[in-house]
Subunit: 254 residues, 4 copies
Amino acid sequence: MEHWRTAIAHSDQTGIWLRGYDLTALMSRPFTDTVFLLHRGRLPGEGERQLLDAVLVGVADHGAGAPSCAAARLAASGNRESLSAAIAAGVLAIGNDHGGAGQGCMVLIKEGAEEARREGITLEDAAVRAVDRAVRDRARLPGLGHRVHTTDPRVKVLFDLARQHGVAGDGVAFVSALERAASERIKKLPLNIDGALAAILHDLGFDPPAGKLIFIVGRVAGLTAEVAEEYAREKPMRIRIPVKYDGEPPRSVE
Amino acid sequence: MEHWRTAIAHSDQTGIWLRGYDLTALMSRPFTDTVFLLHRGRLPGEGERQLLDAVLVGVADHGAGAPSCAAARLAASGNRESLSAAIAAGVLAIGNDHGGAGQGCMVLIKEGAEEARREGITLEDAAVRAVDRAVRDRARLPGLGHRVHTTDPRVKVLFDLARQHGVAGDGVAFVSALERAASERIKKLPLNIDGALAAILHDLGFDPPAGKLIFIVGRVAGLTAEVAEEYAREKPMRIRIPVKYDGEPPRSVE
Amino acid sequence: MEHWRTAIAHSDQTGIWLRGYDLTALMSRPFTDTVFLLHRGRLPGEGERQLLDAVLVGVADHGAGAPSCAAARLAASGNRESLSAAIAAGVLAIGNDHGGAGQGCMVLIKEGAEEARREGITLEDAAVRAVDRAVRDRARLPGLGHRVHTTDPRVKVLFDLARQHGVAGDGVAFVSALERAASERIKKLPLNIDGALAAILHDLGFDPPAGKLIFIVGRVAGLTAEVAEEYAREKPMRIRIPVKYDGEPPRSVE
Amino acid sequence: MEHWRTAIAHSDQTGIWLRGYDLTALMSRPFTDTVFLLHRGRLPGEGERQLLDAVLVGVADHGAGAPSCAAARLAASGNRESLSAAIAAGVLAIGNDHGGAGQGCMVLIKEGAEEARREGITLEDAAVRAVDRAVRDRARLPGLGHRVHTTDPRVKVLFDLARQHGVAGDGVAFVSALERAASERIKKLPLNIDGALAAILHDLGFDPPAGKLIFIVGRVAGLTAEVAEEYAREKPMRIRIPVKYDGEPPRSVE
């Protein structure tokens, strides 16, 4: 078998290195530095770290009933042999419709920023085009709209921090323009946490898959607490989902 | 359906709270504070946070060939539709034999500390008893012994930090005594990262399941980077595991 | 890297063999034959196949609200990129408390049958001892007791089929004795589907892990239908689990 | 919480019904009938069952080194607490690139058949158009091409059975036309097992997601045997994947 190649970690009998840094030296620094390093290949500056902290905390948890938390608890309810199984079940509920819309929004940002550069238009104009294309294709705009909050309080905190630390760039500018253009041309569609996360991660230099992967890193903190609470407070098999059958009436095999 | 009960997170149209703290306020603090808060129900002190940082960084990654990283990459190789699926596959390879021995070691520490208190013996004596029981039952002592490193460099870093920040307590004392007792009565069995993680988490007030759950939080940082690299550098289905068949020779159904 | 060894499947450019049989020949026979072959290393007789059919059908599904089905649907609700992710989330909810108690019961049967042989006692006596040990250790007897059905209709069907086809052996005898002994010494504890499945699989020559693995094979049929229905009938994120927060009241970070 | 709705299974204290049929009656029939029933809402005829048997057997396993089997074994290697975790890890490696291409091919078939009907052209012509579109868009044609076998022996078996049992319809006709058109216009691209499975499932009346879901049902039979063998023959942590680091050389944090 051919060796696998990697530029992330290596170790020998004396030590372990991540992206070339001695792991024991990284251990004296915040965990968030290592998350940044693993994905970006370099250590963050002070402002970059604070922004990544804010993103990770912002998505850690917001309620036991979210699909990720609920799936983790259901797995813990039926299968109490493996904590890993419950956490994995929670991760599996994360996707474009729950927690993962940041990935699609990062693609929009990347394409918008490239279009602006290539065609010499403003980000504002590129955002208008993106909205027009979505209207034409009847596509959703990932990162806009929210079920509960009309204005998600986390968005302003992220953007204020980004401006304060000089991290705000094309990402913040593009999604803000996108929100304005969509609200003019479609309906009031406030930026949600996925869109804000996408903007910040773009401005921190992350690639689109990070829109989902960094959400997962933050949410796993919450999932582990949810599963610990399920084990500590609840008996196995306590969960009962009420179901109404509306299919074929009883019938005979022959 | 009855409501589920939780003491972790709640939200309404205006905000989100974790353990009672406004999430937007937590966003201005390190992510590690939120990990600590979610599990311990209170914010950490400076030293406590640094210890938890060291634990999380210490287990983030040590090589693409570890079962968790390799399982994540295999899932990414066959199923490139879902980043979540690849991360979950990686999490599923974490157990008592890979990354999760800290849980068993935390049980040993807890029982040893209780036995010492209950019977008025020293932790040192409780550790000797634990070793004797393991010898009698032919059981492994989780947290001791290592495949590659004779002395894992991460152990000393964790213990030095713990002493420096006044965090070292029964956990560090018990596993150190365990290492000595095992080396005298069985064979040289150096403390490994699982055992050191267990000691620190015990001294930070975590319960035994955290021995697995906190490992998962740290390792997911590494898994996300491994999967991002697999997507960026490798084509689907590039992985070939060489297999030798040693079963029944060809035979006919009738 | 060393080759992995296996006695299950091998292939070359001309064909594929399972346990030595040409896969294309197996394709003309029932799927259940292949399930049996993969686990037992030989093809089943007519009666053996019918018993395995009955077991697989018996556990395929009994309602969308069971933890396995509900976890699969929650994953489908948040993550609609990957059908595999939803099925895997469902599998993860299967454990000793949901669907997997057959494994523990198969261990009981195996130990009981060995004890009877070794000590020259009847299976009836071995079952009494097993119940007495469970009472002494305050342990549950896997395979006995049921939440909903006082008498699970599937049990009688399985045992009738087993007797009719001459498959009933130590497994059926032991769990029947276990049910009688437990009902005399503890309380009415009817055999449940896990216990019946365990008895049949033991008598078909399967090892204890099959108590979980064969349940999974059967249940995955149900999970795939549940997930297909969720995709076809429901929008993403339609699931709302009601949660009541009972933790710390709002408090300030400083 | 609103009740969930389902047309698959329901139960009360006296019984369990799948699609309206008493589960205990279904238990006297082949498992494959229940798989068909769960997905298609009716019981299969004799020929339909035999075709579904052939599909399920055909994908059950073809070697321990396939991503699904290898991921399951890696999870079993690190996490021996949960058989479910290992099976789930295996399922997670199934996707468009491994085992799941049948779904995309079923979409092609469905669109081709609709196009033929709508525009009054032959399936042959619709297949030519599909190939031309793929060439234009530089897209792959799912169901065509194979890594190892130039002619997959399973394809002929499936198609012969389909013709023999009168099951062959638009699906078989369309993929055969697709194979011819692609080989003329692109290069020799033999139909693979995914394409044959797609054709048969289309002709059995299944929807495109079944191209992945039915593969999963069949493969889980193999995965359970692979995991049982890993537990029985191998120690935990026996797997070593060789890795070559090609990233940053050692560097200092400051």
